[in-house]
Symmetry: C2
Subunit: 423 residues, 2 copies
């Protein structure tokens, strides 16, 4: 559809003048609204107030005193809980710290410094390393591969996941492509869940590099928003079935289940991969915080109670997603200047504006007091070649503030589009 | 002194026969006694049972909700507590995770991959990296430098710290020597505290490498055993005064203050170093567990209450050190076959047996059911060139078990020595 349909130049100018006036009025209000990061709101945090209710004894079910040293890979009940939730075996899991991002960084660093299971040599000994980056994607992923000096290759996201034809073609021909990022369920920010076909092809594809790894960031694997959730195949077992058992490393955490500032993170992969990396991690630390693992396992109990707990999260944040959709629908639909997704889970709404308008939109919003994730952040090196994608993180602000913020955002989207078509 | 003084061969053989009989009797008892690691005992852990008493609100004094994302370098009250305890500034401190070992590993990994503040290039880009290792030392330190493929140079420990003449000479002539390990207070295992002179010379010495760093593992900085504690100069301020402000990185944790399995760790250095590394760590994680920092700051309160808390630890473990000394004195003193230290703090007693007898002693003890730290573990690559040093970790076992274990150890020391002199 053409931008602004059949409006003629005068009509567009009138529209721009009217919106500019509204915009100036917003600016005068001196608002300070932050939608930059996917942070849970206070009501969500309060759902986990019971975390510290059961601290009378800090012994694990197997008799381990969680207060003392020991158990590098985590306590029994925490492993069992994550294993059940994600349908993996307890010997395919490593529980470590409060940050899955840290586990991902560590894995990449170890691939560089020491090599992972099955590597011929560490990546640091190679001339050139390339990594596939489905886009739009997560800025913190790309920051890691950027820090390690990798060349990042943008792979477009389709409605069923990243362009799998392109991926298969790339990895079969170039042995310097060593891995790919992915958020396979309710992807950040597009909300897309990888189809069964895409997961199977990722597990089965021939890679020229024998040390190709899939960074499977299952950050939103249980973070459904409604009663029609997406479903995702298990990459660990698909890789095993495909005869590529050591290809995928899955990551997750309770950051958006319990407390972002004090959760429990885990990594899962083949038993062989986990055994190998445990040896490396044993040099790095004596062990992670077992008391926090224990409190989490006791509070979250079992998969059923976790799912009930996640429904309470959904009840708090679903109305926020709905507000965003309503306001965007009201102001932007049918104008041919923006499109956005309506995900069944996760933490983001991905907004695509006219090519060349994302930076301007975000900048206009900022001047009016609405802080969004930087335009470009969803692409490697912070550069969106289309300058089109904007990430909306609706969970943190109260609904009253969110409404104003999205009204302003919608206005800025249209204003930037008008500036473009009138230029 | 000559081994076994003036005993003639027949007397030695008689003695050996007598001890062998005692040894066989111990073996028959099927004992299982573990003195391999410096673990606090249960009574010590119980001192921190109040950690979770105050969880009603989880907001920091500055209003930060510790449950949510944010504050990469730690919360205000935790920084202030560590800063006061170790006489550093709050902007010279980074609080991260539960493991100071992990912070050390991370620092070395970053020096390799990205370079630290002031580095011309990352160490991974250099042909050869050497690291100074005062010995006997901590096996986990040496395991890190071993993993990164560094050449480790043994520096002997004197009664005032590592041989500073040797260090000055080495670092002034060889720019591939990039750093040194140290446990400057109640060193593991020798119990030695670096003298003011040694600290000042470390801070002031000319190093050929401009990227030379001191890994200052202040693990036992507040872990006194009695009322005549050692004292240690502040390396951070000494380096600043010397015009080498970015040379030292200090590490510490509450692992042996509160809970080894769930403590809080920190790193301190110049403000410039901390600012630099914070940028690197911001790629690695959004933040460490702030709730645990908050619970720790509330429980430990202030330097005075921390010192009182540490006295309670001392009351529990000092008798264990005394038992070891009594038994070693009783069986081994005056025989010229072993010497050991009587530290004013820390977690270890370092036992030096006749050259060539450490492995045999540890092995004999193991057969009789007493597990000690492997002989050689206190040297790089697990190899003690003298085969003489044994690390005793007396804190974990109950006194009744400890007594038997040390009786057996003393017996094995003498038996191994007799085997040697009679061979």
């Amino acid at each position: 559809m053409q931008a602004f349909g059949n409006l003629n130049r005068d009509e567009l100018i009138n529209r721009k003048n009217k919106l500019s006036e509204e915009y100036e009025n917003y600016k005068k209000q001196g608002l300070k609204l932050d939608m930059s990061r996917g942070k849970p709101c206070t009501e969500q945090l309060d759902l986990s107030n019971g975390l510290f209710d059961d601290v009378q004894n800090l012994f694990s079910v197997d008799g381990t005193d969680c207060r003392n040293y020991g158990l590098l890979d985590g306590i029994k009940e925490a492993k069992e809980l994550f294993a059940e939730l994600f349908n993996i075996n307890t010997d395919e899991i490593f529980i470590g710290g409060n940050s899955s991002l840290n586990l991902m960084y560590d894995l990449i660093a170890k691939a560089f410094n020491h090599g992972l299971n099955g590597f011929e040599k560490p990546w640091s000994k190679l001339e050139k390393i390339k990594f596939l980056c489905p886009c739009p994607g997560y800025d913190r992923h790309f920051a890691i591969t950027q820090l390690f000096g990798m060349e990042m290759i943008i792979v477009p996201m389709n409605s069923d996941g990243p362009d799998i034809d392109m991926i298969e073609n790339l990895v079969s021909n170039d042995d310097s492509i060593k891995g790919m990022w992915s958020i396979p369920m309710y992807s950040n920010p597009s909300g897309i869940t990888y189809s069964d076909d895409v997961v199977k092809r990722l597990a089965n594809m021939k890679t020229k590099a024998s040390d190709f790894i899939i960074m499977w960031d299952n950050a939103y694997g249980i973070h459904h928003l409604n009663d029609t959730p997406d479903s995702l195949l298990n990459i660990i077992s698909e890789c095993r079935k495909a005869g590529n058992p050591n290809r995928a490393y899955m990551f997750g955490s309770t950051s958006k289940v319990t407390l972002p500032g004090a959760g429990v993170a885990f990594m899962a992969s083949s038993k062989e991969n986990i055994t190998h990396i445990k040896k490396q991690i044993s040099i790095q630390t004596i062990g992670y915080d077992k008391v926090n693992m224990l409190l989490h396992a006791r509070f979250l109990k079992n998969p059923q109670t976790v799912r009930e707990h996640m429904k309470k999260h959904a009840e708090i944040i679903r109305p926020k997603f709905e507000v965003v959709h309503e306001i965007l629908d009201k102001h932007l639909s049918g104008k041919g200047i923006a499109k956005w997704n309506k995900p069944n889970g996760g933490y983001f709404i991905s907004l695509d504006v006219l090519k060349g308008c994302a930076k301007r939109t975000v900048s206009l919003a900022k001047e009016a007091g609405v802080v969004l994730t930087s335009a470009g952040a969803t692409f490697p090196n912070g550069f969106d070649p289309q300058d089109s994608n904007i990430r909306i993180a609706p969970t943190y602000p109260p609904i009253s503030e969110l409404k104003i913020a999205i009204e302003i955002l919608a206005l800025c989207v249209e204003l930037a589009a008008l500036e473009l078509v009138l230029s």
